[in-house]
Amino acid sequence: MATIHIRDLSHTFGTQNGQGLTVLKNVNLTVKDRQFACLLGPSGCGKSTLLNMIARLLSPSAGSIEFEGQDPESVNIGYIFQEPRLLNWRTVADNIEFALRVKRVPRQNRPAIVERYLKMVGLDNFKHAYPLTLSGGMQSRVGIARAFAIHPDVLLMDEPFSNLDELTARQLRRDLLDLWEKERLTVLFITHNALEAVYMGDVVHVMSNRPAEIFTSREIPLPRPRDYRNPEIFRIQQEIVDQLLNRVGDLE
């Protein structure tokens, strides 16, 4: 259904001096249908650039991105950003309705969908509230509800919890995984937090510094729901961090 194949993908930004800045080099990555894939890498390595190319906000300099059995133009993409990116002049319900309207969901079906997803993120009492009256965690929940409500083929997430305090982030990770288990979307989740990657992912792909490539991938065979206190999570996380440090150390 929504397996993503990324082949030999490179991206070079044009710069003032005309030399160009290569942020991604020969990235190969497959995200299987209904898989929760995490992409871990140091800050500024080009993770967001990769995501933006999958979302068609940017065109690759070389290589290809394919969605198995689907026309790339028609792929329905859900995107959860680092900031909630809500329309602050619209109510919580209207923010979700906006996405449904853009996706041409018939008008009479929208209220029920809005209701359903707000309930799933625990915000059904806040339909008529304006985003700026909500806490940061609650605003993130609206962003999550909006992304799930359009039934995306692929859900992209760009460090969605990195601006939140750890307690709120933990709660939201738990809740996000609950939602994902119900809907089983194909997910590509970007983070610089190794513990988060191991806790969330079926698989963790690790990226090097700029120009970034994926130098190792690791399946996480732990059963769900997972627990932070599971020593196995901590052990795998430690191994990945060590590998990353070795690799980044090589470059210096």
């Binding site: 068609r56 993409i77 990116r85 602050n88 304006y130 700026l132 909500l134 965690g137 709120t168 939602l179």
Partner: protein
């Protein structure tokens, strides 16, 4: 998902859609009373041709309002302001948006705006009468010249402050361009447009009255100048007072409610009409 312990989600948020009409109405009333009281207290010490009392002025106002005379001239004045203001809105939006999205346009017009804001409105009122004669267009032209820098300035600020991350969000949904403009760009510009309108209108009223005093034979400004020529301070003040009342009505009855409605999503709506008149 259940509501969480860590986030302490409150049961609901106060519904802001209906809250707050005019708070502290009694203070507004008191403020007007004090002004009238001072006026009434001072006036008896002066002859009528220097400072008539509020009762005399009120009576004269009532007379011009009841005779319908007031509304004829008010109509001319308002029509000129509306015409000039629509013109400067057009100019301001075109130049302001251009400045917000292009560095060279920005640099070019920055200087013009600065000059435009510095030259006194009176000068333009006189010049446009010299150029265009005793015509409505003279008044409209001076309004456009005087208010468009203020509106341009606001639209420019608003365009620069546009949140492009929201546009990016919309693009991930494949949102058509016209919906992006309508739902994401325009709502972000409206608060700036509104504050430009407010400041621009307050300038426009002043300029139009000057134009009418200098060279036109209709409008509030013409009446003020006419009664000034006859040394009737009572009528000068009656025309001014009636005009001011209409302006206040417009502010409280039209602009302020529109502003409240449009900016109700902000956590703290400022009592904006106080700040903007300054």
């Amino acid at each position: 998902m259940k509501p969480t312990l860590t986030e302490a989600i409150p049961a609901s948020v106060p519904d802001r859609r209906r809250s707050g009409r005019f708070k502290n109405l009694h203070l507004y009333a008191l403020s007007v009373m004090v002004l009238l009281g001072l006026w009434a207290a001072i006036a008896p010490f002066f002859p009528d041709f220097i400072l008539p009392g509020p009762v005399a002025v009120g009576r004269a106002s009532w007379k011009i309002i009841r005779s319908g005379e007031f509304f004829i001239d008010m109509y001319y004045t308002i029509a000129r302001v509306v015409g000039g203001f629509l013109g400067s809105l057009l100019v301001g939006i075109i130049i302001g948006v251009g400045m917000g999205i292009n560095r060279q346009i920005e640099t070019f017009w920055k200087m013009e705006i600065l000059i435009g804001l510095t030259i006194p409105g009176l000068m333009w009122a006189v010049i446009s009468v010299l150029w265009f004669g005793l015509t409505d267009f003279a008044a409209i032209f001076s309004i456009i010249i005087v208010t468009s820098p203020m509106i341009t300035l606001n639209i420019w600020e608003g365009t620069k402050a546009l949140d492009t991350k929201l546009v990016q969000m919309a693009r991930t949904l494949n949102t058509p361009r016209r919906i992006i403009v309508r739902e994401i760009v325009i709502p972000q510009l409206i608060p700036y447009l509104l504050s430009g309108t407010r400041l621009g209108l307050s300038l426009a009223w002043k300029v139009v009255v000057i134009s009418e005093m200098v060279g036109l034979d209709t409008g509030i400004g013409h009446q003020i100048s006419h009664w000034f020529g006859l040394f009737s301070m009572t009528n000068v003040m009656a025309w001014t007072l009636s005009f001011t009342l209409i302006m206040l009505l417009l502010e409280f009855g039209v602009i302020y409610p529109i502003e409240r409605r449009i900016t109700r999503w902000r956590p703290e709506t400022k009592e904006a009409f106080v700040t903007a008149q300054a």
